[in-house]
């Protein structure tokens, strides 16, 4: 029996109708495509009236297939599928085709756009006739969650979930949780002590009965999908037995090997070869840095094991792989600092008294390498004039186009600390002052009143090539002051570069493991930039904090909480639907060659030794189709993407190239074509 197809062409206001003659598309489809019994255009198909059109036609005209030509299926496929289901038609018998993003928004020629829309409608119509009703499956959601990254965003997400009673695994790469916030002295705009507000959260996480923390660990491998991920975690060898160590710190005290601390102290201070990154570290268990420990490098020492009162030191400890199962994953891996040597004209690495913002943070910190004193690289001279240069590596087409969002405020914070702690004059060299969040502009006003100097202009260079007598021995900041309209040379003793926030070096690699993508700049891409900021295109994987783009602490905390709320919602629902669009193997045809087994990127194909055939695990298959195209015996079918469906789609799209200028299945003579139905005539 022939199918009865309904076609619905959306105007999307003027979004589509402005570039495509939608009425003509609907008229043409009604006349020229075989089996079409209704063809309409309508202002907004996604409105309730638009949906009702479809539902009524299914009931009254007995439609067996529906095509909606409108926007991206990402936005409204669910809407139209639901409409069909409501009217008793299996939702997989509804096909959307995108004539907005794929046609009207990217076209400038109305006639050509209209022709392209016709081809897409024909393709969808031909394909939909071959589609089969499918039923969705369900998987139970494992209530445990994996949080990757123990910065402020990850800590917030962890606590929200753990407090709600759900188990959380927290994986942090460094020996302690805390992230960048642990390095700061004060936080803008309120100037509260960073450690004072952070460490309570850290110890809460450390002691929470629902949290299992893996520090000095990384995610090795992720398989499975939403509801039932399987994760392998690499616990790097600490060489200190976690269960035995009491955190007394005697080993650290006695270790004779001092090492420059390039991570926590930003290269400004030292740590030992056995160390915890900072005094309030969670956990307190130290790690041995084997690249620097003299026992590991030269076979001498073992002082730590001699002094340890609980015999917790274990030089033979090996990396360990731990397997866990979780229902959802929250990624909160934060940011890394721009390498300032990439802008050599600012002199970092060459001129001693040019500092990065993170070096300056450590210098301001009372627990830092200078005990909170602001001094030159010699460790004692107090600077008389300090320049703070904004946008170093940000808002610069040669490096990063984006604004790093936090550095203007951090520069103001630095200005305040300088004025509070020293008698120095402090200059901010800014392009635009970006202080848009709550109480930020007020903080800027405050610094104007406190006497920080503001020079608007991008600094050309920082140099020690003096020209004038009063420049001798100084660093000279050469800048075009765009408010005065003049070039200025300002001699200073110290320069602080507000280096950009950049994506973590391994962001892409981790993204691949998790099946989430990065933007051009390298930040993780959210499902929707406005309406779904913490979800990703992969169900069950969420992002929070600065790994999704530069942001301040309040925004990172908000995202951490938001991601946790999304996960809690999934756990409460208890199950997630899984798309029936998956592959299946015909056991009769399968020769057992096992080619597909290794090709599947989701490890979804298992092998039945007894029968000698491969089998797809429905819950793990994502329907990518890799195996379908690889099977030499043609034994694998991708539901919803069968060969005949795709061939029909191709024939549809090539309708005008096919011999008689009609879609392959279109009636050869106009007489048999169905009646076109004028808009609203039904």
């Amino acid at each position: 029996m022939a199918e009865r197809v309904g076609i619905y062409v959306c105007h999307c206001g003027s979004n589509i109708a402005g570039m495509i003659d939608v009425e003509e598309v609907a008229r043409w489809a009604g006349q020229s495509i075989k089996d079409v019994v209704v063809s309409r255009d309508y202002k907004f198909m996604c409105s309730s009236l638009g949906q009702k059109l479809i539902e009524d036609d299914i009931r009254e005209q007995g439609l067996t297939r529906v095509v909606v030509a409108a926007c991206s299926p990402h936005l409204h496929e669910k809407t139209f599928r639901r409409a069909c289901q409501n009217a008793g038609l299996n939702q997989y018998l509804c096909q959307m085709t995108n004539i907005r993003e794929h046609v009207s928004w990217v076209s400038t020629d109305r006639q050509k756009a209209t022709e392209k829309a016709k081809a897409l409608v024909a393709a969808a119509a031909e394909r939909v006739k071959h589609q089969r009703p499918l039923e969705q499956g369900f998987v139970k959601v494992n209530p445990a969650t994996l949080v990757i990254g123990g910065g402020i965003a990850g800590l917030q997400a962890t606590l929200e979930l753990a407090d709600a009673g759900y188990p959380v695994y927290l994986v942090e790469r460094e020996p302690s949780i805390g992230g960048h916030m642990a390095q700061f002295d004060k936080t803008f705009p309120t100037l509260d002590c960073s450690a004072c507000i952070l460490t309570p959260k850290m110890s809460e996480v450390g002691q929470h009965e629902n949290v299992k923390m893996f520090t000095y660990a990384e995610v090795e491998e992720v398989s499975g999908s939403v509801g039932c991920f399987k994760v392998k975690i690499r616990q790097k060898a600490r060489h200190v037995i976690f269960e035995k160590c009491t955190g007394c710190g005697i080993c650290v005290e006695k270790c004779p090997r001092k090492v420059v601390d390039n991570v926590f102290e930003a290269g400004m201070g030292y740590r030992k070869a056995i160390y915890t990154p900072f005094p309030q570290a969670v956990p307190r268990t130290p790690v041995i840095d084997t690249a620097n420990c003299t026992w590991f490098t030269r076979g001498k020492c073992q002082v730590c094991s001699k002094v340890c009162p609980t015999q917790a030191i274990d030089y033979d400890q090996k990396d360990e792989i731990i397997q866990i199962e979780v229902g959802n994953i929250i990624v909160a891996t934060g940011w890394k600092l721009f390498d300032c040597t990439r802008i050599p004209q600012y002199g970092y690495g060459r001129l001693a008294n040019v500092f990065t913002n993170m070096e300056f943070e450590r210098m301001c910190n009372a627990a830092g390498p200078t005990g909170g004193k602001i001094v030159l690289r010699d460790g004692k001279t107090e600077p008389r004039r300090i320049a703070i240069i904004h946008c170093v590596g940000s808002r610069d087409v040669r490096h990063n186009q984006y604004c790093s969002a936090v550095c203007c405020m951090a520069a103001l914070k630095f200005g305040h600390l300088v004025l509070e702690k020293t008698k120095a004059e402090v200059y901010s060299f800014y392009i635009d002052m970006r202080t848009p969040m709550k109480d930020y502009e007020e903080f800027y006003q405050r610094l104007l009143e406190e006497g920080m100097h503001f020079v608007r202009g991008k600094v050309a260079e920082v140099t020690d090539a003096a020209r004038l007598p009063d420049e001798q021995g100084s660093l000279i900041v050469q800048v075009e002051d765009t408010l005065l309209g003049t070039q200025r040379r300002i001699p200073v003793d110290m320069v602080v570069l507000m280096a950009a926030l950049e994506p973590q070096a391994d962001a892409k690699e981790l993204g691949l493991k998790l099946g989430i993508s990065c933007s051009m700049a390298g930040w993780y891409t959210e499902r929707h930039p406005k309406l779904d900021p913490v979800a990703t295109m992969t169900d069950g994987v969420f992002v929070a904090g600065a790994c999704q783009g530069p942001k301040d602490i309040p925004a990172s905390v908000a995202q951490g909480a938001a991601a946790a709320a999304r996960v809690a919602g999934m756990i409460t629902a208890g199950k997630v639907t899984i798309e029936p669009i998956i592959a299946s193997i015909d056991e009769q045809k399968c020769s057992g060659c096992r080619i597909c087994n290794n090709l599947c990127p989701y490890n979804a194909i298992e092998y039945d030794e007894e029968k000698g055939v491969s089998r797809v695990v429905a819950a793990m298959c994502k329907g990518c189709g890799t195996c379908v195209s690889a099977c030499p015996a043609n034994a694998i079918t991708g539901a919803h993407f069968s060969n005949e469906q795709i061939a029909a789609e191709l024939e549809g799209i090539l309708w005008d190239a096919i011999a008689d200028g009609r879609p392959a299945s279109a009636a050869p003579d106009g007489s048999k074509a169905p009646q076109s139905t004028p808009v609203g005539a039904a």
Binding site: E461, T463, D464, A465, R467
Partner: protein, 298 residues
């Protein structure tokens, strides 16, 4: 390797030392230079500021005259290099302008299709085509002990920096280190020397020259090497006037990078054009390069 060679006017007069040393060094490194037959002046900075079409046509004539067998032209002078490169780009990027230029060329029976000839600077040819190993291989008198400040100026690194950082180029630094010299990492290596500003406003020009000399001296340079006749003229020829104007006592020899290469390669200083500079370079080179003084005394 064979290249078309465009010496330019300076290399025939004030920068004869550059021409001599380029030819000597090229010879030794197996770079075959075939001078363009009947080449004409590139117009320096002046033509372009008068009339773009005329300037371009005059320069394009040189590109049109390149032996069709050769795909690359080498210009040691920074201004010539930039003008040739700019001409090729302008013609490539603007079809109607290209047509006008070719109409002008046609009057002389010539034609140039943009992109046919690749314009290269001598420094790039030595560093990129010949490379570190081959250069090191030729060093017989390493410049150990000589503190050399590389001076790049503007026109080779801006606006077409290639793979260099236009604010902080490194190629000549690397080359000098291959020769065994101590490379002076001073902050003004790509700052402007003032170009023809000496003809317009001496105070401005002298200040620009002074700060280059000052910074090199502050960083204990024995010598500055440059890659442009204009830079050499300003820093060397005007050094005395600058000293008079500012009451300074600079005495920094300024030579071309190919000259110092020649020394490291053991070539005859006379053939490299030493002695043509006003602040004498050889005595400094002999005094500083370990072992050279003894050799010279023998």
């Amino acid at each position: 390797m064979k290249y078309a060679y465009y010496p330019g006017c300076s290399l025939e007069c004030n920068a004869a030392a550059y021409d001599m040393s380029v030819r000597e060094v090229a010879d030794l490194l197996g770079i075959r230079l075939q001078e363009i037959d009947d080449w004409n002046c590139c117009g320096a900075t002046e033509y372009f500021s008068q009339d773009e079409l005329t300037a371009t046509a005059v320069i394009a004539r040189n590109l049109a005259l390149v032996d069709p067998q050769l795909k690359q032209v080498v210009a040691p002078c920074a201004a010539c290099y930039l003008n040739l490169k700019k001409t090729d780009r302008l013609m490539a990027e603007h079809a109607d302008f290209n047509q006008k230029v070719n109409e002008a060329l046609a009057a002389g029976g010539l034609h140039y299709r943009p992109g046919t000839v690749q314009v290269r600077h001598m420094l790039d040819v030595i560093c990129d085509d010949i490379g570190e190993a081959a250069v090191r291989d030729k060093v017989v008198k390493p410049l150990n002990g000589l503190r050399v400040a590389p001076y790049y100026g503007c026109q080779v690194v801006r606006p077409y920096p290639g793979d260099e950082n236009p604010e902080y180029p490194m190629k000549m630094d690397h080359l000098l280190s291959w020769l065994g010299a101590e490379v002076v990492d001073y902050p003004v290596k790509a700052h402007c020397c003032g170009g023809h500003m000496t003809q317009i406003s001496e105070p401005q020009a002298f200040e620009l020259i002074r700060r280059l000399l000052q910074s090199a001296q502050d960083y204990d340079a024995d010598l500055i090497v440059c890659m442009c006749p204009m830079c050499q003229l300003n820093l060397d020829g005007y050094q005395g006037r600058v000293n008079g104007y500012f009451n300074t006592e600079f005495k920094l020899p300024i030579v071309y990078f190919t000259q110092i290469m020649g020394i490291a390669f053991g070539l005859d200083p006379k053939k490299l054009g030493f002695g043509k500079e006003l602040v004498a370079a050889l005595p400094v080179v002999r005094a500083k390069v370990n072992g050279l003084a003894a050799q010279a005394a023998q």
